[in-house]
């Protein structure tokens, strides 16, 4: 057979040809007939009352089709945007869910909040007209400083949310933790800020909505990571368009990192307005809009304390976090600092008692939601920072302290004190491999050599755990999720033997079109060029949950395996008939059905053909056709783990941190395509390094203006900021999914901030400055830390 691929092969990505030759098809590439263009007028203020809004000049401006304000959407009963995860506070009370109108009604609550929508025949005319809208703002005091958002007297973001407190949530046994601290031989304390990040997908968000007056059908082309969820939310909660009358297509999408999971005002309004004006409407964010309106990530302030016995065994861990929600609740905002954060605070360790308290606060800033890793980078940064700090304080090597506290490989499944049951893992061989690859033993000599040149060298470890492969539906349902988290697959063979693999997950850079094809090729023996992976269109693929939380392979890939099993089962019946053998004697190997013990065989393609041209066919036992559907709901999360070791060199004269070596050793379970996995790890580490050393969404405390609103001021990591990474693997297959895979999309970003910052702190410890540095460790901050007195 020509090019059958096996699981584990380093197959080049099928999608790269079109991406690299500029023939990808993105939302903005669509040419719709009689298309109009939307422009959104944005609030220039962080907090203001809209006393009046005059759209008459805009409405009369050249080419304008319509102008809509919050009053129009309210009159039309357009529902508010929703948050799909109910978090109950300490007392069982659901989180505060203030209104989130798609267009502001009488108050704007962050710079970039939507004030009006202008629709015109060209994008330029729409923008010209928007300039002519007169808004009478009464500027009000704004709160953007998270540390002060919950303080008495802070400006209020929503009148129905007293004190800006969205919820006060806890997890774990507080009494047990207090008891552990009472007996502790040593307590290490830490304060950390997890800096706010702006996602910066290469392709900005976009929407193109069509309305067909003849059928009443709507079509939305949009930059979504989960088109079915978008359809569900728009239908059931916001617009009331029945699901069968709304088709959502997410074509090629240029990166998401979480920010394209959510349902935003712009696509909502484009769909609604397309019905109103009876013409297609297109909108593509410009980069400034992306900075202001894509949901941001992270943004925590935390105080934590860890208790140890005399041997350095962790006995208790207490955490107090304030998490920023921004001005409104984005689609999954509430879950990120709770169920995706608090539940991960055991890390790789046997700490028996953990208690975490999270207060979520509203501020006059862009909404915050899941961003690559979502909660787990925040948890890992905290756990791994305090563990390294503890090691320094008690004078134990940080690798040694980790090993002393690791969960033993014999302890799985392991129940943590913060709700999760880890399914598998073996942490010591991973850290040993990372130490070997980073020449950990030789670090002392390298540090001395650096010192002789006037440089400060440091080494940092980050041993992460993450829960991904989201998720067992019953579990997330019990925690407040408004949706299930299974995945769908359909294997639709054509009479000539090639196959379409329809998946409910969505690829926006992850390489599904290759990886998923590889699974089918390996499992069914179909050549790669006979397989087409189809995703992203609610009218083509079965209902699916989309791509986030490193779930696509573990959940979506498992659904494909289930569908492939059904194909084999059906094919066996057909092959048995064709070979006049008993079904029980048929085996399937390398794409061929065989009668065991004979040389009789029927290739899969022949069985497929027979299914579509059933002239000689067991029609009384088997339906024609070869088209199988499967849904897979996992029985647990998957738990990738690993250790990263970062080595940095600091120039004390300038404060510049150079990463000189970076090692990542991961346990992702089985690996389908090592090249794709490396790409995911590299990208994740780059983002983690970005968070640690460069990226920060900065707001002006006085005015609430976004100071880092363009690439002139928001520092993205670039290739020349990064060394060549050294990667390694240790594998414990996931015991509960058919592929034995765990997920690799977020690991790099989850672990890297702590690895980098522990290295920076280790370097700064030579001048006593290890506790004076926060992320991002920019040159100015490092220099200031070294020179502070």
């Amino acid at each position: 057979m020509s090019n059958v691929s096996k699981i584990g092969d380093r197959v080049h990505r099928k999608e790269d040809r079109r991406f690299l030759t500029g023939t990808g098809r993105y939302v903005d590439d669509l040419q719709l007939s009689r298309c109009t263009h939307a422009h959104f007028l944005r609030s220039p203020h962080a907090h203001a009352r809209i006393k009046g809004i005059d759209t008459s000049k805009a409405a009369a401006s050249a080419g304008v089709v319509a102008v809509f304000t919050g009053k129009d959407t309210a009159d039309a009963k357009v529902g508010g945007l929703i948050c799909g995860w109910v978090v109950k506070d300490k007392h069982g009370v659901p989180h505060k869910a203030p209104g989130h109108p798609a267009i502001a009604l009488d108050t704007v609550r962050h710079v970039g909040d939507t004030v009006a929508m202008v629709i015109a025949d060209t994008a330029a005319n729409a923008r010209d007209a928007a300039d002519k809208i007169e808004v009478d703002y009464e500027v009000l005091p704004a709160i953007v400083d998270l540390t002060k958002a919950l303080s008495a007297g802070a400006p209020q973001v929503h009148s129905d949310v007293p004190g800006n407190l969205c919820y006060d949530w806890e997890l774990g046994d507080k009494a047990a933790v207090d008891a552990a601290f009472a007996k502790a031989a040593h307590v290490t304390k830490i304060d950390v800020v997890n800096n706010r990040l702006i996602p910066n997908a290469m392709e900005p968000r976009a929407a193109a909505a069509e309305y067909d007056r003849g059928t009443g059908n709507y079509t939305l082309h949009t930059t979504s990571q989960n088109p079915h969820v978008t359809r569900l939310v728009l239908s059931a909660f916001v617009l009331g368009i029945p699901e069968h009358k709304l088709r959502v297509i997410a074509p090629d999408v240029g990166g998401g990192f979480g920010s394209k999971i959510f349902i935003y005002a712009e696509e909502t309004l484009c769909v609604w307005a397309a019905g109103k004006v009876g013409r297609s409407i297109k909108w593509t964010a410009d980069r400034s809009e992306s900075f202001m309106t894509d949901a941001h990530g992270r943004d925590h302030v935390t105080h934590a304390e860890i208790a140890m016995d005399k041997d350095g065994k962790f006995t208790g861990f207490r955490i107090d976090t304030i998490a920023n929600m921004g001005a409104y609740l984005s689609t999954f905002a509430t879950a990120v600092p709770t169920y995706l954060y608090g539940t991960l605070l055991a890390g790789q360790y046997t700490t028996p008692a953990i208690h975490v308290n999270v207060r979520a606060a509203f501020t006059h800033t862009t909404p915050v939601d899941a961003y690559r890793g979502a909660g787990r980078p925040e948890a890992t940064y905290l756990v791994e920072s305090i563990v390294s700090k503890a090691a320094r304080e008690i004078g134990v090597d940080p690798a040694e302290l980790r090993k002393r506290n690791f969960i033993a490989p014999t302890a799985f499944p392991y129940q943590t004190p913060v709700a999760l049951t880890y399914d598998s893992g073996n942490y010591v061989p991973i850290i040993d491999e990372a130490m070997k690859l980073s020449d950990y033993a030789g670090f002392g000599a390298r540090q001395s050599a650096a010192k002789a040149k006037g440089k400060l060298r440091g080494i940092g470890i980050s041993s992460y755990i993450e829960a991904c492969g989201l998720a067992p539906s019953a579990v997330v349902g019990s925690l407040g999720a408004g949706v299930g988290q299974w995945e769908s697959a359909q294997l639709r063979f054509n009479p000539t033997g090639n196959v379409q693999v329809l998946t409910g997950s969505h690829s926006h850079g992850q390489g599904h079109e290759t990886t998923f094809a590889q699974i089918v090729s390996d499992k069914l023996g179909v050549p790669m060029d006979q397989i087409e992976v189809v995703h992203g269109d609610t009218s083509q693929v079965p209902f699916g949950m989309g791509t986030y939380g490193s779930r696509s392979l573990a959940v979506g890939g498992s659904a494909i395996m289930k569908a492939a099993d059904k194909i084999i089962a059906k094919g066996k019946k057909i092959a048995a008939h064709l070979m006049e053998a008993a079904e029980a004697d048929i085996v399937f190997e390398n794409g061929t059905f065989k009668v065991s013990g004979t040389d009789k065989n029927v290739p899969l393609a022949q069985a497929v053909f027979a299914a579509y041209v059933p002239h000689n066919y067991p029609i009384d036992k088997v339906e024609p056709g070869m088209d199988e559907n499967a849904f897979y709901d996992p029985s647990n999360f998957t738990y990738p783990s690993g250790t990263q070791i970062c080595e940095v060199e600091i120039d004390p004269d300038t404060g510049v941190v150079e990463i000189v070596h970076f090692v990542a050793v991961d346990d992702f379970g089985n690996i389908v395509n090592p090249m794709v996995v490396e790409g995911q790890v590299h990208g994740g580490i780059a983002q983690g390094v970005g968070q640690a050393l460069m990226e920060a969404a900065a707001y002006d405390n006085a005015t609430g203006q976004l100071l880092s609103g363009s690439y002139m001021d928001y520092t993205m990591p670039r290739a020349d900021d990064l060394p060549s990474f050294t990667l390694g693997y240790k594998t414990t297959p996931c015991p509960h999914n058919p592929l034995g895979v765990k997920g690799c999309g977020e690991a790099g970003a989850i672990a890297a901030p702590a690895a980098v910052m522990n290295a920076v702190r280790d370097a700064l410890a030579q001048v006593g400055a290890q506790d004076r540095i926060e992320m991002p460790a920019t040159p100015q901050r490092v220099w200031a830390a070294i020179n502070a007195r």
Binding site: D128, S288, T654, M694, A696, D713, P779, Q780
Partner: protein, 264 residues
């Protein structure tokens, strides 16, 4: 971008006439600064006069006394010029460190000096080397040319035609890039010129400035140690999310030291 009339004259005289005639005319060279400004609707000129058709403005001439660079010469061409590299290697190196590949292949020296961005690299070279800016009307010494933040001695519609740099016996430029934009957060150009040592700083203040105390120290002894203890006051320097005035002041000394060492 707002609508404007577009002109592409073939001579400096025609360009000057076109700007003069316009109610609010703007010259365009590489457009690397102007186009983003237009796209963000921060400028609304009635006319844009593109100098790309004026071939006289392109080119590099090197003789025994120095280097003259036509206003429309791109950063990439200065960076890769063997003649510039021989005559004033620090100048070629500076041009090679501006922006990125795309910017260097569109941005011009004329546009850069006319724009006088406080974080631009070229101004430091002009002032340290004692360059002369030639316009369609006159010659202006670099120190008189750069007035303040985005402010130059150019009159409305006056066109930079070339910049002439005298050679120096020693020269080097050290740039500490802004981590985000990679413009100069602090850039120090040092030169041993015919009239003595010169130290010019860009990025740190509202406009390029000289550090006389360092020049005096270097006149006594041309060595990194000579400037190591010369501090510039933080007062009046730029302060933003990337660098406080104090940090910038500190970096001036560090970059000066490194520039002197590099100049040899």
């Amino acid at each position: 971008m707002y609508d404007f009339a577009y002109h592409k004259p073939k001579s400096v005289a025609d360009a000057a006439a076109a700007v003069k005639k316009a109610s609010d005319g703007k010259l365009m060279s590489g457009g690397m600064t102007l186009i983003p400004t237009l796209k963000q609707r921060l400028a609304h000129p009635s006319d844009v006069v593109d100098l790309a058709g004026v071939s006289d403005l392109v080119g590099i001439k090197v003789d025994a006394t120095g280097v003259t660079i036509g206003a429309m010469t791109k950063h990439a061409d200065v960076a890769s010029s063997a003649d510039v590299a021989r005559a004033i290697p620090a100048l070629a190196a500076l041009a090679g460190g501006i922006g990125d590949r795309q910017v260097r292949n569109r941005g011009t020296i004329g546009g850069s000096v006319a724009n006088n961005d406080p974080a631009a690299d070229y101004p430091a070279a002009l002032v340290a080397l004692g360059a002369t800016v030639t316009t369609n009307e006159r010659k202006i010494a670099a120190e008189d040319f750069f007035k303040g933040m985005f402010e130059t001695a150019l009159k409305d519609g006056e066109i930079v035609t070339s910049v002439s740099f005298p050679t120096a016996t020693k020269a080097a430029y050290m740039k500490f890039p802004n981590p985000a934009s990679r413009y100069a957060m602090v850039g120090v150009f040092v030169a041993q010129t015919a009239s003595g040592p010169r130290v010019a700083v860009t990025g740190a203040g509202p406009a390029v400035f000289r550090v006389k105390a360092m020049e005096e120290a270097l006149a006594k002894s041309w060595s990194a140690d000579a400037v190591a203890n010369v501090k510039v006051p933080a007062e009046g320097l730029n302060s933003d999310i990337h660098a406080s005035a104090e940090y910038r002041a500190h970096l001036v000394t560090v970059m000066a030291k490194r520039a002197v060492a590099a100049a040899g």
